[in-house]
Each structure stands twice: as structure tokens, then as C-alpha cells.
Amino acid sequence: MHNKRGAKEKQNNGKHHLHLFLGFFRVGVLGYGGGPGSIPLIHKEVVDKYGWLSDEEFGDILALANTLPGPIATKLAGYIGQRIAGVMGMINAILSVIMPTIVLMIVLLASLSSIRDFDWVSGMTAAVIPVVGVMLAVLTWQFFEKAGQGIGWIKAIVMSAVILVLLELAGVHPGIIIGALIIAALVKRDGDRSAEGEES
């Protein structure tokens, strides 16, 4: 949303930048397990804490981010930053999410001399993996519940089962499935009122 309201906008912008920095910095230092590990944390910050996106929007953005190549956490950060505070917001969010760990990498690799030190770091972080798994599982359930409310439980379960088979057994790339669904949604004739989502 870009309105032309001078002073208030400026003040808001400062606040947005601070929030983008804080939110994505937290994601950057807590998101263990690479990109996927950051997803529940990003959801927590942008939907629950700052209310920048609705759950629906977050789902759409996540879907699109999944169809495009490249790292997912920075794509989400960059897009959300851009939406909240323009190009500077984009740069702010990306740097906040990646800089802490890059600096940590450089420092650690310069100072870790023996493999034993590596093991110690690995031991610390190994415990976080199941915790991030739990956060992902909770988010999974939230999305599944929404899918059930949106298109009906039967349809949601059947669709999920088909998608699961395609992904896991047939080895179809998720990007292809999401792409196909997006195209199906866009070319289907309007006036079909069978699927109405809950309006918030």
C-alpha cells in the first residue's frame, strides 16, 4: 500500500524499517535447517507479530516462491520488505536475514581450528532441528485446516493425497504442480461459485 501522506508516511517508514530489521534478523539467527527452517519463523513475524500479510497472502506468496528457483528465505524476505517499504525495505530485509550468519561463518571458519570444534557446533544445533520440525508441522496443520475450510474437507483430503503421490512416488517437481494449479485457477471460467473461501 503506497499512499501519498507525507509526514505520517515518513514516520511509518522509519518504524517499518526497524521492524523489518528486527523481524528478519530474528529469522536469520533462529532459522536452523536452511530455507525451510525459516518459513515458520517468517510466518510468525509477518503474519502473527506485525500483521503485514494475511494468512491467505502468505500462502500465495509461499506457493509462488516455491515455483521459482533460488533460495526461499531471501525471496520471501525480499518480497515482503519491498511490499512494506519499497526497494530500501527489500534490501533491509534481505541483509537482516543473511548478514548475521555470513559474518558468523567467516568468523567461525577463521577461528575454528580443529574438527572437534566443528562437532561442538553441530551438537548444539542438532537439537534445534526437531524443534523447527515441530514448527513446520504446526504450520502444516494450519494450512491444511484452511484448505479444508476453503474447498471442503473431502476435496482437500483427496487433493492432498493426489499431490502427495505425485510428489513422493512419481517424483514430480513441486514447482510443476503449483504452476499447473495456478494456471488452472486462472483459466477456469468465472461464475463457478462452488468454491468460496472464508472472508476475513
Binding site: 525451510p36 531471501t74 513441486p174 494449479l181 473461501g197
Partner: protein
């Protein structure tokens, strides 16, 4: 020339690396080790091992560190830019287009259609995390951490930051 090479080395994995981090690792290895010979296989795997156990996106960590090793701060910036920018620009354009028609029934339907896929993808990710943990620290530790963190996060509504920091301390002492 060096910066150009760095750009190329990370642009290619960024564009071809579907599925983010893990998918782009072999591609990055191909550029960094085989093609430009900036690192040995052993060095690369050490960097990867550390990368894996630190938070944040994998591909950008690798890009940042290797870029810095090869070409200093500017090298790091170039490598990270090459990793992040192409797909991000595409995403901003596509979503901008989509939100122009935000209120059209088509876009609303899109939201409904993609939800099950997102749920499944997140579910698979969660599954992979549990499986990795089972292989890494065994069934009992994994089960304990799953139950404990679920209770803390969902029952007691403790902020993830505290739960993760607590887990780090636990891991440091116990594992």
C-alpha cells in the same frame, strides 16, 4: 574478471537450483571446485558442514563466505547478489501482476487451489526435519525434543526465540 566469475558461479546455481539450498549445493560445488578451482573438495565440504549447522538460508551463506574468501567484501556482495537477485526480481514482478487483480475471483480461487500443495510441502519439510534428527541424534532425543518443544510452543505459547535458544543450550550440554 574475478567479480564476473563470482557472479557467474553463483548466478547459475541460483537459477538452476530448484528447491533452494540443498538443490543448489552440488551446482555450487561444480562451479567453485571443478570449474574455477577456488577451493578443494575437502575445503568445500568443511564449509558446507559448518553452513549446515548454522541458522539461515544455506545458499546465501555459502555464497557470502566463498565470495568473501575469493574476493573480499565486494566478492561476498557480488556472490550474494547473484544468488538472490534473479529469482527475487522475477517473484516481485509476478506477484505485482497478481495483486493488480487481487479482487478478481480468479486470484481468490488461486489462493484456494494452492493451499493443499503448500500444506503438503510444509508437511514434507517437517517430515524431513524429523528424519534428519532421527538419523542425527537418535529416536529418544528426537522424540523428547519434539514433545517438549510442542508443549512449550503451542501449550504455553512461549516465543520460538526462547525455545530455540533453550534448545541450543540443551544441545551444547547434552549432545
Amino acid at each position: 574478471m574475478l567479480y564476473w566469475n563470482l557472479f557467474v558461479a553463483f548466478f547459475i546455481p541460483g537459477i538452476l537450483g530448484y528447491g533452494g539450498g540443498p538443490a543448489s549445493i552440488p551446482l555450487i560445488e561444480n562451479e567453485v571446485v571443478q570449474r574455477f578451482e577456488w577451493m578443494t573438495v575437502k575445503e568445500f565440504s568443511e564449509v558446507l558442514a559448518l553452513s549446515n549447522s548454522l541458522p539461515g538460508p544455506l545458499a546465501t551463506k555459502m555464497a557470502g563466505y566463498i565470495g568473501y574468501e575469493v574476493g573480499g567484501p565486494i566478492g561476498a556482495a557480488v556472490a550474494v547478489f547473484a544468488t538472490v537477485a534473479p529469482s527475487l526480481i522475477l517473484m516481485i514482478l509476478l506477484l505485482g501482476f497478481l495483486y493488480k487483480y487481487k479482487d478478481s475471483p480468479k486470484v481468490k480461487r488461486l489462493t484456494l487451489y494452492v493451499r493443499p500443495v503448500i500444506a503438503i510441502l510444509l508437511g514434507l519439510m517437517a517430515w524431513r526435519f524429523f528424519a534428519d534428527s532421527y538419523e542425527g541424534i537418535g529416536i529418544w532425543q528426537t522424540a523428547f525434543l519434539i514433545v517438549a518443544s510442542y508443549l512449550l510452543l503451542e501449550r504455553f505459547k512461549i516465543h520460538p526465540a526462547f525455545v530455540i535458544l533453550g534448545t541450543l543450550v540443551y544441545g551444547g550440554f547434552v549432545l
